[in-house]
């Protein structure tokens, strides 16, 4: 396949479509610079996380630090009970949320793809209306805290993110276009229940869709900080990595904004604040899983988009 493509590319006809060598050179350099702009900030943060605190005091953050050290990481893991806990919360929320979300969205997508379902129209509206209109942040906040009692509960990090009309439409489109009707009909003839059909027939042939939505969901959970900011501020045991980062930032800003605090409070707060290297190490720990994973799954993100664009 690849070989054929290459040949095709080298045939004379195609060469006319190519740009000249100098233009290609300029474009290449341009895109290399752009690519660096997108990636270098992360690299910079990695470097800072390995920089010795004394050289930071002296020179600020630098791409080529005077002295390197592993101190930040060692400190983090030696007395980092709160860090381990934050990692645990982030992983737990991501894994549990993704599994739950895939299931809830896929089930609804499957039900919407059944043409004979008596409530199909009503359900389509049910899923569709929230894409146009929502109650806004204030109403959601009050409902979640005062009606559902989600404040300081792990569910506040999981439930609000789990279901999304866009994901459901992706599933519905996928099921309508790729799962043959005959397969489901024949399973039904054999007396299988819909639940059984879903798990034994539909899921095994729908792994691409599951993977796509699973990825969307897991990135959404791992990167979510708004729900933590709204609902679990009061319970440190429930802070995910993203919120821990926010909290540290907030304390830094507080110190910077209030230069008139008494020296005692300042000193006490500074002591509680992790050093620059440690903060950046925390960022590195948060970003690394994503940075390692996404290049391999990039195509799913694009395919998910195009699937969702098809209307049924």
């Amino acid at each position: 396949m690849r070989k054929k493509k290459k040949q095709d590319w080298e045939t004379g006809e195609n060469r006319f479509m190519q740009v000249s060598k100098p233009v290609n050179m300029v474009l290449s350099i341009f895109f290399i610079i752009l690519a660096l702009c997108c990636f270098v900030p992360f690299l910079f943060v990695v470097i800072i996380s390995f920089t010795d605190q004394t050289s930071i005091f002296k020179n600020g953050y630098q791409f080529f630090p005077e002295k390197c050290t592993l101190d930040a990481y060692i400190t983090l893991f030696e007395n980092g009970a709160s860090l381990i806990n934050a990692i645990f919360i982030s992983v737990l929320v991501t894994v549990a949320g993704t599994m739950m979300g895939v299931l809830l969205n896929a089930l609804m997508g499957y039900v919407l793809s059944r043409k004979n379902f008596a409530l199909r129209k009503a359900y389509t509206m049910l899923v569709f209306i929230p894409m146009l209109f929502n109650g806004g942040l204030t109403a959601s906040y009050l409902v979640n805290t005062q009606l559902l009692n989600l404040r300081n509960s792990i569910w506040a990090l999981i439930l609000p993110v789990a279901v999304n009309s866009f994901y459901i439409i992706v599933f519905r489109t996928f099921f309508t276009s790729t799962v043959p009707e005959e397969l489901i009909e024949s399973a039904k003839m054999d007396g299988a229940s819909q639940l059984r059909i879903f798990f034994k027939v539909v899921i095994p042939i729908s792994l691409p869709a599951m993977a796509t939505i699973g990825l969307f969901l897991s990135f959404a959970y791992w990167n979510d900080w708004q729900n933590a900011l709204l609902y679990v501020v009061g319970d440190q045991k429930l802070w995910p990595l993203q919120y821990m980062l926010m909290r540290i930032e907030k304390d830094i800003m507080f110190l910077a904004d209030n230069p008139y605090l008494s020296d005692m409070t300042m000193a006490a707060m500074r002591q509680n604040l992790p050093e620059d290297g440690i903060r950046m190490a925390l960022v590195v720990i948060t970003v690394t899983p994503i940075a390692l994973i996404y290049p391999f799954f990039q195509k799913y993100f694009i395919s998910g988009l195009t699937v969702g664009a098809v209307k049924g």
Binding site: A35, F44, V111, L126, L147, E249
Partner: protein
Amino acid sequence: MRKKGKERGHGTTPRKRKKFRRDDLELFLISLPTVIWYILFAYIPMMGVVLAFKNYRLVQGKGFFGSLFASDWAGLKNFEFLFVRGDFLAIIGRTVGYNLIFIILQMVVPVALAIMISLLLNKRLSKICQTAMFFPHFMSWVVASYFVFAFLSTDNGLITRFLHSIGIDYNFYGKDANSIWPFLLVFLNQWKTVGYNMVVYLAAVTGLDRTYYEAAMIDGATKWQQIKEVTIPLLKPTIIIMGIMAIGGIIKSDFGLFYQATKNSAALYPSTMTLDVYIFNALTQNNNINMSAAASFFQSIVGFVTILLANGIVRKIEPENSFF
């Protein structure tokens, strides 16, 4: 949607007017959890829009609905407060203004980049660049704000220190920086979205019918002429539709960008306070539920109208691409 109409026209429904069969019951049951989710997390909050017209107080022991019914009607008072305070109009203007800039850039920059990257001879390099440019899309604004901080931090930031070394003391999170943040915000928005949008447009560019190019080449068109006369005209409908769809969200702002990337620095509010930041601050910091409910309501209604408008316009020009 049109497809549906066709089905109805042909009357192909296998069974006649449906009764609630066993099959329906099973489908109803397996989708019940999701339906409950929708009721709890989408539809009850939707009813919560009445909050905007209430003087809401949480009554101990009465719960949310009890308190909602028990609290007094406020009429339009909440909105009066909102609009009498002069800055609400400025906040709306800022939200819409930033979005207009973002939308225009989004219609130009990623398209140009997609066309340019499709010209690269080295496909491997092209793939690597795409992957690298996709990276910011996967970063949360919390993480991105640390990236920004590494350069702009008041004590140690690379740029701050550099300015200091040439004799300029500049605080990027202070009052004076208000003149520079609008540009920074636009830059950050582009930084985060451009790679992703470029890849989306690239799919459109590579999907274009090659015969057009062959015809153009036979006519002796240069590469530049091909881009101008073939690629751009063919992409134009997609670009316009994406732009109009984006206008549907013109009253919503990217909360993370304006709140988190700027570290919610109060000194920067004159350039960063958009509607979402305002609603959030009114709710959590000032504890002013009524104001934030009124602003939320305003955003929901205007958002709804703009989506309908945008969709209506798209349906006029390109019915196949309309959202519904």
